[in-house]
């Protein structure tokens, strides 16, 4: 080797030495960087929210970060070197069976395991927590597994949130209301079953579409108005509007719309609850209509009551001011007619009430409908004759009888004939026909009167409805006659129908009643005549008790005109004493009395031996079945409703005590 070669080798060694120093410098620098990086990694692991455990290749714990120490309740010092299964105790949540640690699987399979989400971690202190966990191998330079890292997290809060979310979703899905969410641009993002039921669209066909698809044309401005409020963070509550269904129908809905905010509190959309209020709206409209009709009825009732009262008032004044027998006779006639009219109004009102409450009881018997026709015609004939109508009656021979209440059936026919007479111009025509029709009996009343507009026909049988209430067309009445007709006919199992070709073209009412079967026809007793002959009268001693002095004196005067001896009292206790003293044949006793009421007085009288044969008659403004029952229980023989039909009262007295010595024959109620 030459000297030059030796110098060069020396130089080379010098370079190598300097390089070595530099490499050491670089390596230390890199190692320092690595240490810093390792420390950063350790700090990062300690800071992250998940639990991290690393093990060696035998599955022994090497490192636990802060969260892992908290969740497992093991310190780093205690856990280091222990088998992972001792520190990281897990069981399968559904089965409670001991679960294999993910480290065991990683070491066996050599690949990443997880995530698992049905695991319960049992901490050293026994606390159980649901966790999600996964694990991965840590490989060395040659690729061999040098350890395992396990990452897990406490999912208790998430489970609770999931549960809350599931419950909320179930509530939303089961809601009867439509619950819909949308973006601030109006794009539908969710759609529950209630929305599907109410609006017809399925979720898959409407989610992603614009909410305007539900807007009827006249509600287009709703959208921007509502979205503007939502953008300002305001709620829209119980806003009543309408929405269009898939089939094009428009529903009345009540909307409540609230802003939806994201985690940062920013408004990102709106949730809407829509309730179908179509039925409620209809009910409200029906209530308004009923209220309107009630007001009309009350006005009509006042009118109907004032008219006879005015006539009575005039008649009384004529009688007071005139000595002429002709005037007084006229006045008596007027008072009698108007009193009858007022009684009928009250009877009709009470009938409607009783039928509406289901309290009316039919006294059915085998009835010849043609007889009812005759009675009804007789009742209405004065009105028909006054109006100079021409009435024809056609009864088809062989018309079968019906199982019915004769009084009520007569009431039906009277109402129909009265309506025909009232709503037909003078000199009109009324045709009444009675005929068989299969297993039914049909009675029709047709007139040539004012007729009924087509739109009125469907409501003709509703309460308080009259075809035309204008003053110049009004014929009076309360609008309850046809209601009574329909309800009474229906109580008999029949039907009634109105027909008119229009205004000015007359009206026809047709009643169909089930014909009585042949067996009923054979076994029944048919009254041929409802009216009874008036028996002869004998003078009797009668005690009249009423706290209304005018009523008591008026009734007493009428009884005296029939030759009876009458005593008058106005107070209950005095009445009981008078009865014991006088032993009257008849006591007419008001119920609402001062001191003792009528029931108490009746019971007291019934205790008196002297009054054993006394006919005790209640005279009351109340005539319901309940009132009559209470009267019977108190000892009354009869119950009459004010104003008393004097002829009927005299007939009753004559029947019960007038022609023979007084005797108890039971009540007729």
């Amino acid at each position: 080797m030459t000297a030059s070669d030796e110098r060069e080798e020396e130089l080379l060694r010098s370079v190598a030495l300097q390089n070595a120093s530099t490499i050491q410098l670089v390596r230390r620098r890199d190692e320092k960087a690595l240490l810093e990086q390792t420390e950063l990694l350790r700090t990062t692991l300690a800071s992250i929210g998940d639990g991290v455990i690393s093990t060696d290749a035998q599955g022994r714990v090497v490192f636990l970060n802060r969260v892992a120490q908290q969740l497992c309740a093991w310190t780093q010092a205690d856990a280091a070197g222990r088998p992972l299964a001792e520190v990281f105790r897990i069981i399968n949540e559904p089965t409670s069976a001991k679960a294999e640690t993910p480290v065991d699987r990683v070491l066996r399979e050599g690949s990443v395991v997880g995530p698992s989400n049905q695991t319960l971690l049992i901490a050293r202190d026994g606390t159980e927590r649901p966790i999600d966990d996964s694990a991965a191998p840590i490989r060395g330079l040659s690729g061999e597994i040098e350890g395992v890292v396990v990452v897990f997290r406490d999912v208790t809060d998430r489970r609770r949130a999931d549960l809350d979310r599931s419950r909320l979703a179930a509530i939303v899905e089961s809601s009867e209301d439509a619950i819909v969410s949308k973006t601030l641009d109006g794009i539908i993002t969710s759609w529950n079953q209630g929305a599907e039921r109410i609006l017809g669209y399925r979720a898959e066909e409407i989610v992603g579409r614009h909410i305007s698809i539900l807007m009827p044309p006249d509600r287009a401005e709703d959208l921007e108005r509502i979205l503007s409020k939502i953008r300002r963070g305001e709620r829209v509550e119980h806003y009543e509007t309408s929405r269009r269904c898939k089939d094009g129908t428009v529903l009345d809905v009540s909307l409540t719309v609230s802003p939806i905010r994201n985690a940062a509190g920013e408004i990102i959309g709106a949730s809407k609850i829509a309730r179908d209020i179509t039925a409620r709206k209809r009910a409200e409209e029906a209530l308004l209509e009923a209220d309107r009709r009630k007001d009309e009825f009350l006005a009509m009732l006042a009118h109907e009551l004032r008219n006879p009262l005015a006539a009575v008032s005039h008649a009384v004044q004529v009688a007071q001011r005139s000595e002429a027998e002709e005037d007084r006779t006229w006045a008596r006639g007027v008072i009698e007619d108007q009193a009858t009219r007022l009684s009928r109004i009250i009877d009709d009102l009470l009938d409607v009430s009783r039928i509406s409450q289901g309290k009316i009881q039919l006294r059915k018997q085998l009835t010849d409908i043609t007889l009812m026709v005759n009675h009804a015609v007789e009742t209405v004939r004065p009105l028909i004759e006054t109006r100079r109508h021409r009435l024809t009656i056609a009864v088809v021979p062989g018309t079968p009888r019906v199982e019915g209440d004769p009084t009520r059936l007569e009431q039906v026919l009277v109402n129909l004939l009265t309506n025909a007479a009232k709503y037909t111009e003078s000199g009109g025509r009324i045709d009444l026909e009675c005929r068989p029709d299969g297993d039914h009996v049909v009675v029709s009343v047709r007139d040539s009167g004012v007729g009924i507009a087509p739109e009125q026909l469907p409501r003709m049988f509703d309460l308080f409805v009259q075809a035309d209430r204008s003053l110049e067309r009004s014929e009076g009445g309360l609008g309850i006659g046809l209601t009574l007709v329909r309800r009474l006919v229906e109580l008999h199992g029949g039907s009634v129908r109105a027909h008119s070709d229009g205004l000015g073209k007359g009206t026809e009412f047709t009643v169909r009643l089930p014909a009585a079967g042949p067996e009923a026809a054979r076994g029944a007793t048919v009254p041929s005549e409802l009216r009874r002959e008036r028996p002869s009268l004998a003078p009797r001693r009668i005690l009249v008790v009423d706290d209304n002095e005018a009523t008591a004196r008026g009734l007493a005067r009428l009884l005296k005109l029939a030759s009876h001896t009458v005593d008058i009292l106005h107070e209950g206790r005095a009445a009981a004493e008078a009865a014991r003293r006088l032993a009257p044949d008849v006591v007419l006793l008001d119920i609402g009395l001062p001191g003792m009421d009528g029931y108490q007085v009746a019971r007291a009288i019934r205790q008196e031996e002297a009054c054993a044969a006394t006919l005790l008659i209640a005279v009351s403004g109340y005539g319901q079945d309940e009132d009559k029952r209470r009267s019977r229980e108190a000892g009354f023989d009869e119950h009459l409703v004010k104003p008393v039909d004097v002829d009927a009262l005299l007939e009753l007295i004559a029947q019960r005590v007038g022609t023979s010595p007084p005797s108890r024959r039971g009540t007729t109620g």
């Binding site: 370079v15 300097q18 390089n19």
Partner: protein
């Protein structure tokens, strides 16, 4: 091609078609030997295996350190004049050409950082400290290896022939350890998976049928060599006087998970080995190295410099064929694929 390079500059773009043709012919012939992994014969390393990355660098002078060979000639390193240090060309570019013609996996050889580190002179370069040079060198090397791996190299072989030379120059081992440290710094920038595709080659040199450090005992090198954090080691063995001794050293120091490809043919030996000779060398190696960690290779490249015509192409491919056939014979005996 050899004449064209000799008459001009090896980096002349007009030579590109010749390089490509040489690579194609080499690949075709290589594949014909039956070798499961091939190379392009390092056609682009026109001066030598050492300086290909920096030939033509304007900040370098040709009077760097020399490597003396037993045949009496020397090879010189370039000397860096100024920073920053950058490669002029990288081996992944050669790989792209090879992959266009190859049908088999291609191994790509690159120069080691330790060899290139000798470019920085003993005196510091003003404005460009040695530490900065080492950083630049490591980055350039990493880029070259990573690009080769990314572009599809079956394996990347780092030529570390200076390792044995270092022992010769500095028997204290200081120089060798500085090389090992530097190369490990480079290797640590790769993942374990990547390192399984990276190997280190060592040999006593193989230039004009001579060596630069054939007289250095492997016992001085191998313990340190296996400290390198590479997945594979390509070790010249066929030319060793006492291969068994070397195999024993390998057995003693080889770590689990690493593979050793022992050289079973010697490029500097003009005679073509027979397959049986190769077989016997493999079987001998298998006595010391677990079969699953054992592979075969050539001791070194057949022509590491453009002016080295000592080995003909025919001889080279005959030797490779013998290596392939002998390895197959040994595999049969050992009962492995």
């Amino acid at each position: 091609l050899i004449e064209a390079i000799a008459s001009g500059h090896g980096a002349d773009p007009r030579l590109d078609p010749l390089y490509e043709r040489a690579a194609r012919e080499t690949i075709t012939a290589f594949e014909a030997t039956g070798s499961p992994v091939i190379s392009d014969g390092e056609q682009r390393k026109y001066h030598n295996f050492w300086t290909y990355a920096v030939e033509g660098l304007s900040t370098a002078a040709p009077d760097g350190f020399k490597i003396p060979f037993s045949a009496g000639h020397v090879r010189r390193m370039l000397r860096l004049l100024a920073g920053p240090f950058r490669y002029m060309r990288r081996a992944d570019g050669f790989l792209e050409t090879a992959l266009r013609y190859a049908h088999l996996p291609v191994k790509r050889a690159v120069i080691s950082p330790s060899a290139m580190s000798l470019m920085y002179p003993a005196e510091a370069i003003p404005g460009y400290p040695r530490e900065q040079f080492i950083d630049d060198l490591l980055r350039e090397h990493e880029t070259e290896v990573r690009d080769c791996l990314r572009k599809g190299a079956h394996a990347v072989q780092i030529d570390f022939t200076e390792g044995r030379l270092a022992v010769k120059i500095d028997p204290t081992g200081g120089l060798l350890h500085s090389f090992i440290d530097l190369n490990n710094l480079a290797l640590r920038s790769f993942s374990p998976e990547e390192r399984r595709r990276i190997g280190v080659h060592t040999c006593p040199g193989s230039d004009r049928d001579s060596t630069h450090s054939g007289d250095v005992d492997y016992a001085e090198l191998l313990p340190s060599l296996f400290e390198l954090e590479a997945g594979n080691f390509y070790i010249a063995l066929a030319g060793e006087r006492d291969p068994v001794r070397v195999l024993k050293i390998i057995r003693e120091h080889l770590k689990p998970g690493r593979r050793v490809f022992v050289g079973v043919v010697s490029p500097i030996e003009p005679r073509v080995d027979t397959p049986e000779e190769v077989r016997d060398r493999v079987l001998e190696a298998a006595e010391f190295i677990p079969v699953e960690q054992l592979g075969t290779t050539d001791d070194c490249g057949f022509s590491p410099a453009c002016d080295d015509r000592s080995t003909t192409r025919e001889t080279a491919f005959a030797k490779i064929r013998a290596r392939v056939q002998g390895t197959a014979l040994a595999s049969q005996v050992l009962g492995v694929r």
